[in-house]
């Protein structure tokens, strides 16, 4: 803070995502665990209160709950899976969507300001869960051999192309999907958070610690930009939750689809 004594700017990086245990000695209890636990509590409270007295004529809370529930049920699950079998997957897709949404938005909520999914473990957990589910329902519907045939041998491809198609399809449909799911979500949250940190910490450094008036002016602009970036991030956070759930629903839909 003392002008004229410039300190070195430490750019934000992976080390900013290091979250020490909140209580000493309880290694697993870190900020992301707390945030995601809070998000689960909020979701449970909201949906429990909204659906507890579900009636023909909805209360305001029920109406809001139905709005959120219908969004996942109709716009995501039914559109991607088809009106025959989608109801079975609505609970998981709903839970998944609101879990990711709240934890992403936690990166923008003041005081919390940490997107849980910028720790890749959470993204892995969600992606593996989705991977297990879509493969399991596919195998249960078509049998192990039938499912692999369904996923790796697209209809209408000549036989001589099969040696090429089967590995490609296997890798893209079975191997890569969980990786791309988890990395997309993680990387967006991670990069978004770093971007915000760059603007906020950089602005802070330039205004208060650089000791340079010119840099201070730039720092003010940087702060303003940081606000805009925060708005953009809010959008990205919501979009990423949507994408994750839509893709999961599509994977389920394609796993149980009758034909290509």
């Amino acid at each position: 803070m003392i002008a004229g004594v410039p300190t070195e700017f430490i750019p934000p990086g992976p080390q900013n995502f290091d979250t020490p245990p909140i209580i000493d000695g309880v290694e697993w209890f870190t900020k992301p665990v707390l945030v995601s636990a809070l998000s689960v509590v909020v979701i449970i409270w909201f949906y429990w209160a909204a659906s507890r007295k579900a009636a023909i004529v909805p209360s305001r809370l029920q109406f809001a709950g139905e709005l959120g529930y219908n969004f996942v049920r109709n716009s995501i699950a039914r559109d991607a899976i088809g009106s025959q079998e989608y109801m079975k997957y609505v609970p998981y897709l709903c839970g998944l969507f609101y879990f990711i949404l709240l934890n992403n938005v936690a990166g923008t909520i003041p005081l919390v300001q940490f997107p849980t999914f910028s720790h890749i473990g959470w993204a892995y957990a969600a992606a593996i869960m989705s991977w297990i589910i879509y493969n399991a329902v596919g195998i249960r519907k078509k049998g192990l051999w039938g499912y692999f045939k369904h996923q790796t041998m697209p209809a209408g491809v000549p036989v001589w192309l099969m040696p090429l198609m089967i590995p490609i399809e296997f890798i893209s449909n079975i191997v890569v999907r969980p990786i791309s799911l988890s990395l997309r979500l993680f990387a967006n949250m991670f990069a978004g958070h770093i971007l915000l940190l760059v603007f906020v910490l950089g602005g802070h450094y330039m205004v208060f610690e650089s000791g340079n008036v010119l840099l201070g002016g730039v720092g003010v602009i940087t702060f303003i930009f940081g606000l805009a970036i925060a708005g953009l991030e809010l959008f990205v956070q919501a979009i990423q939750a949507y994408i994750f759930v839509v893709l999961t629903a599509q994977y389920i839909g394609s796993a149980i689809a009758d034909e290509h």
């Binding site: 080390q15 689960v40 449970i44 659906s51 720790h119 890749i120 473990g121 892995y124």
Partner: protein
């Protein structure tokens, strides 16, 4: 962007690889997702779906009720129309019957009146005949007496003998009658 800021070699400090997960976070991720899926599967979905089903049923039920009420109203209208037509038909039939009955009564009455008048006429005629016969009889005796008396006075002869007297009168009357009937027959012929 990193070119703008100072080197970060020593600043990075600990070697953090963001792609390596913390095991507890994967476990919590599973636990939370399963928890939420259970919440939705056990509470939210059944409650909301039931509300939706009730809502659909209520709307459809309302429409069904309205349709039923309409059908009932139409049935009632048809019934009343049918009853009205029936009543009209019945009224027409009653009028027709009444007309027929009236005509029959009038005819009967006329017949009775005719019979009565005929009877009265017959009766009167019979009475007249009887009275006439009586008058003839009384006249006959009176005329006899008067004629006898007259004849006695004229002749001056007392016709005391009753039998003879009667015979004479009878003979006279028979002659009288015969001449009268002969005159009558001639009258009618002429």
């Amino acid at each position: 962007m990193t070119t703008l800021v100072l080197p970060l070699s020593e600043a990075a400090g600990e070697d953090v690889n963001p792609l390596l997960p913390h095991t507890p976070e994967i476990i919590f991720g599973f636990v939370f997702l399963v928890l939420l899926a259970i919440l939705f599967a056990k509470v939210v979905v059944p409650k909301f779906e039931k509300a939706y089903a009730d809502r659909t049923a209520a709307i459809e039920g309302g429409m069904e009720d309205a349709k039923q009420a309409q059908a009932e109203a139409k049935a009632a209208l048809d019934k009343y129309n049918a009853q009205l037509a029936e009543a009209r038909q019945e009224a027409a039939k009653i009028r027709e019957d009444a007309r027929e009955q009236g005509a029959a009564i009038i005819a009967e009455m006329r017949e009775q009146a005719n019979a009565e008048s005929e009877r009265i006429v017959t009766h009167a005629r019979a009475q007249i005949d009887a009275e006439r016969a009586q008058a003839v009889a009384s006249l006959r005796s009176e005329v006899g007496t008067m004629a006898t008396t007259l004849a006695g006075r004229i002749v001056g002869e007392s016709l005391e003998d009753e039998a003879r007297q009667r015979r004479t009168v009878e003979r006279f009357l028979a002659d009288l009658e015969a001449s009268e009937s002969a005159r009558q027959a001639v009258g009618t012929d002429g």
